[in-house]
């Protein structure tokens, strides 16, 4: 049970406090309700580029990192298709430094041209390092474009292409900031060796006078129901043939999401999972095989991905995966197999909750989804799933017309 208190400042900033006095540290986590899905299709990669710019100086403070480091703190940030999150960990004595820094950059950035110029280059190098200069690095670019025709999950967080990042203009930066980085679109979580009273005072003092801004109302193009099977072939200079196949699954808050999450575990979670045992160990069609999803807020993709053992034919590999999936649709899984997945989930949640950083991040995430207390009811949602749920959901999503396959051939 993770306890917390919640209050809202007059400008709409939601503040959550999680006290834990067993640590000398404090975590200040700010989540902004904006991700790559909120981007203009012709200016993709912007939410992430913007995350970099948030370290390029704010209106009263030329450098974000230096004062934080001087106070013994560390920080980082990440952007996903759904949200942007900033967090710092600092000795609790010096927590006010984090309030000072975070509030100033919420008040306004400095909008330095130099920072934009440099970070454009840095992000381009990040793009190259992770997606261009690695074998199979473009798999998700291609898969997203195949699986989504309308929804902005069509592009990756890093952006559709280098040129979008290269062409980012300072006016775009300003507009983006004042649209999304307002108190009313943010959640502040403070965790660790702090008190609620202290956080109330500090929040009011540092964030209280920031103009509220306009609540961002999201209206994204919805992905139409897929009605035909999609297959794309790719030929590239890679050493091994690879296969990646996806099926549309439910959005984060739907029951189907939890069932889909368990299905990925049944199929690909660990050495006793079905796909690993059958296709890597017994048939030896794949040298590695994973089954996963990204935990997307909007409807995501359940994914199977693997590299083929040399000499194995692509059609045999595809058929072998289909066979395992048919099995899931036609036959109820045994109770102990379901229990195994539930036990794993219980364990994963316990390990995740070990650090205050991770607890703060989860509280912000669930608050963004609607209610931070979902963090405490999440396990029960998994516990309630039955073998019939697994079978019915498998029958629902594992339809050829709901599938997207990328057949990635080595030249």
């Amino acid at each position: 049970m993770i306890t917390f208190e919640r209050f809202v400042l007059d400008n709409g900033l939601k503040v959550l406090v999680h006290e834990d006095h067993s640590t000398p540290m404090a975590v200040v986590n700010i989540m902004y309700d904006v991700g790559a899905r909120d981007e203009n299709p012709n200016k993709t990669g912007f939410a992430h580029l913007f995350e970099h710019l948030m370290f390029g100086g704010s209106i009263h403070i030329p450098d974000y990192d230096e004062p934080l480091q001087r106070a013994g703190g560390e920080n980082n940030a990440y952007t996903t298709n759904d949200l942007t999150n900033y967090y710092c960990q600092i000795p609790a004595e010096n927590i006010e430094t984090a309030f000072w820094l975070e509030s100033d950059r919420m008040l306004s950035l400095a909008f330095s041209k130099k920072s934009l110029e440099v970070q454009r280059k840095v992000v381009c190098e990040e793009f190259k390092e992770h997606y261009l200069n690695k074998p199979y690095g473009d798999v998700w670019h291609k898969m997203r474009e195949l699986a989504y025709t309308k929804h902005p999950y069509r592009w990756m967080t890093i952006g559709k292409e280098l040129s979008h990042v290269e062409n980012a203009h300072i006016d775009d930066v300003k507009q983006f900031f004042f649209k999304h980085y307002r108190p009313v679109n943010a959640i502040l979580v403070v965790a660790g060796h702090v008190t609620v009273e202290q956080v109330k005072q500090l929040s009011q003092k540092w964030f209280g006078d920031i103009p509220m801004g306009e609540k961002y109302m999201r209206s994204l193009p919805q992905e139409p129901l897929q009605t035909e099977k999609r297959v794309q072939e790719v030929h590239a200079a890679v050493p091994l043939d690879a296969l990646i196949k996806t099926w549309h699954m439910d959005a984060r808050l739907d029951k189907g999401y939890y069932v889909a999450d368990m299905i990925t575990e049944i199929l690909g979670g660990g050495g006793s999972s079905r796909l690993y045992q059958k296709l890597v160990k017994e048939k030896q069609y794949f040298s590695n095989l994973d089954c996963y999803h990204f935990g997307s807020v909007d409807a995501g993709l359940l994914t199977v991905e693997g590299k083929l053992v040399k000499g194995v034919k692509m059609e045999d590999a595809v058929a072998a995966i289909d066979e395992e999936i048919e099995q899931l649709k036609s036959t109820l899984i045994a109770e102990p197999e379901l229990q195994k997945i539930k036990n794993k989930t219980e364990s994963v949640i316990a390990f995740e909750d070990m650090s205050i950083m991770s607890r703060a991040n989860s509280l912000a995430m669930y608050e963004l989804l609607g209610d931070a207390n979902m963090m405490n009811t999440e396990l029960q949602k998994y516990q309630d799933i039955t073998t019939e749920d697994i079978q019915q959901y498998s029958q629902k999503i594992f339809q050829p017309n709901n599938s997207n396959a990328l057949l990635y051939y080595a030249n």
């Binding site: 834990d20 480091q69 106070a71 703190g73 110029e117 190098e125 200069n133 040298s287 590695n288």
Partner: protein, 438 residues
């Protein structure tokens, strides 16, 4: 706590250009929580940190079974990898199923001197899991079929990795620094995998695991009788009875210092590695060099990062560090930079070395780095797994908590002049190997 902000401070009086007062992290009284120590009946030492709010534990068995002790390439790593792949009683699938049913994770890793098997689980399941760990450590049989699958899949994995410039550069720089016949410098080819024989694994297992030198590290919210449980299951195994073979390797660093390699002619980035052989933690200067390294390239605010990423935008990240080996170390600078700016990046790295040699670090910068280092040490000690990790490093390196307190003392006291002297001794271009792999 002195953090309560003053009540009379009015909102409209906030001066945002002035930083709130801070307590210098160097003033913190850092303590390394002592670990419980006991030995099992067979003299296997146990180190334990009982702490934490979550009902989880981590137990790690460390064996002196690393590359250092193999007489043929990849035998140590293969033995370690296949520990989970079959015993006299269970096949690989049932071993995995057993641990996974309890929501437990059993990982294994092979390093240079040591190799480990690590259990993460909820504390309520420890009693069911320990006997099966013991079974793996005494009854593993390394089935031919499992070995064959392992070889096939590892070779494929290697083939993919060899397309990556960072992977290739990490192998080569170690070879230049230590020599290919040193455990720190050697690497694996597909032919090495082909040459592995099951009998070699059985022999290595028998000597270095079943009758090997073992120590146990445990942390988390441990069951009250964890000592008895460990003793009951592991205390009568034939461990720690024979002495380890004395194995010595000589360093054979490469004569040539500068390398440019094209691994992928279409590559858009180059992996840059700049390194020199360096002393290990036992050298009295080591903690001071850690401070110097932080200033140079050890954290986000370092000079390499500020210049090459935050000013020039040549790279997504650049770091320097001292390699974490027991016998010898190397001082390494590592980055992936745009192909057309690799040479410019290297020029800047040497410029930063030069500036550390020529000018003493300004007090303000030094204070910042000191505070940052102490603050991050405080963060690193947060939680039982982190604390036991630090103890493990000390114990495997033949150090004790005095090293921890000495390091803190060094961070507090080291002067700009001392750091400049160290820079003059060590940060010289001609001492470094230099590699770019595109």
């Amino acid at each position: 706590m002195q953090t309560e902000c003053s009540v009379e401070y009015k909102e409209d009086m906030i001066n945002r250009t002035v930083a709130p007062p801070i307590t210098d992290a160097v003033a913190f009284d850092l303590r390394l929580k002592p670990c419980d120590r006991y030995t099992l009946d067979n003299q296997v030492p146990v180190y334990a940190i009982n702490a934490g709010a979550q009902e989880v534990v981590m137990i790690e068995w460390v064996f002196y079974a690393g590359n250092w002790y193999e007489s043929k390439n990849i035998i140590a790593g293969t033995t370690n990898f296949l520990l989970k792949n079959g015993t006299q009683q269970r096949n690989a699938y049932s071993i995995n199923e057993y641990f996974e049913f309890y929501g437990a994770y059993l990982n294994r890793s092979c390093y240079n001197e040591t190799a480990t098997i690590t259990l993460h689980c909820l504390n309520k399941h420890v009693a069911e899991l320990l006997p099966v760990v013991a079974e793996l450590l005494t009854e593993s049989i390394f089935p031919e079929q499992e070995l064959a699958i392992y070889k096939q899949n590892q070779k494929q994995r290697l083939e993919v990795n060899l397309k990556k410039c960072d992977f290739v550069s990490n192998r080569l720089i170690d070879e230049y620094v230590y020599g290919f016949h040193h455990p720190y410098g050697k690497y694996t080819s597909t032919l090495d995998y082909d040459a592995v024989e099951r009998t070699e694994l059985l022999a290595f297992f028998d000597q270095f695991y079943k009758h090997g030198k073992c120590m146990v590290f445990a942390a988390g919210k441990l069951p009250d009788n964890i000592d008895q449980q460990l003793n009951r299951v592991f205390g009568s195994l034939p461990l720690n009875r024979t002495t380890l073979p004395a194995v010595n390797y000589s360093l054979n660093p490469s004569a040539e210092k500068k390398y440019r390699i094209i691994n992928d002619k279409e590559g858009v980035q180059g992996a840059i590695r700049i390194a020199q052989p360096f002393f290990n933690r036992h050298h009295p200067d080591f903690p001071k060099v850690q401070v110097l390294n932080n200033i140079f390239g050890g954290f986000f605010g370092s000079r390499l990062m500020s210049n090459i990423r935050e000013d020039k935008g040549y790279t997504y990240g650049i770091h320097s560090y001292l390699q974490n080996h027991i016998h010898h170390s190397a001082w390494m600078i590592s980055t992936e930079a745009g192909r057309d700016v690799c040479e410019a990046t290297i020029v800047e790295v040497y410029k930063e070395m030069e500036s550390l040699r020529k000018e003493p670090v300004e007090q303000e910068e030094l204070d910042l780095v000191k505070n940052y280092m102490i603050g991050s040490l405080l963060g690193d000690l947060d939680g039982p797994f982190q604390i036991i990790g630090r103890w493990k490093t000390y114990i495997l390196n033949g150090l004790d908590e005095q090293y921890f307190y000495n390091s803190i003392d060094t961070i507090r006291k080291v002067s700009a002049e001392e750091l400049q002297t160290l820079a003059q001794q060590h940060l010289n271009r001609e001492k470094f190997y230099e590699l770019v792999v595109v």
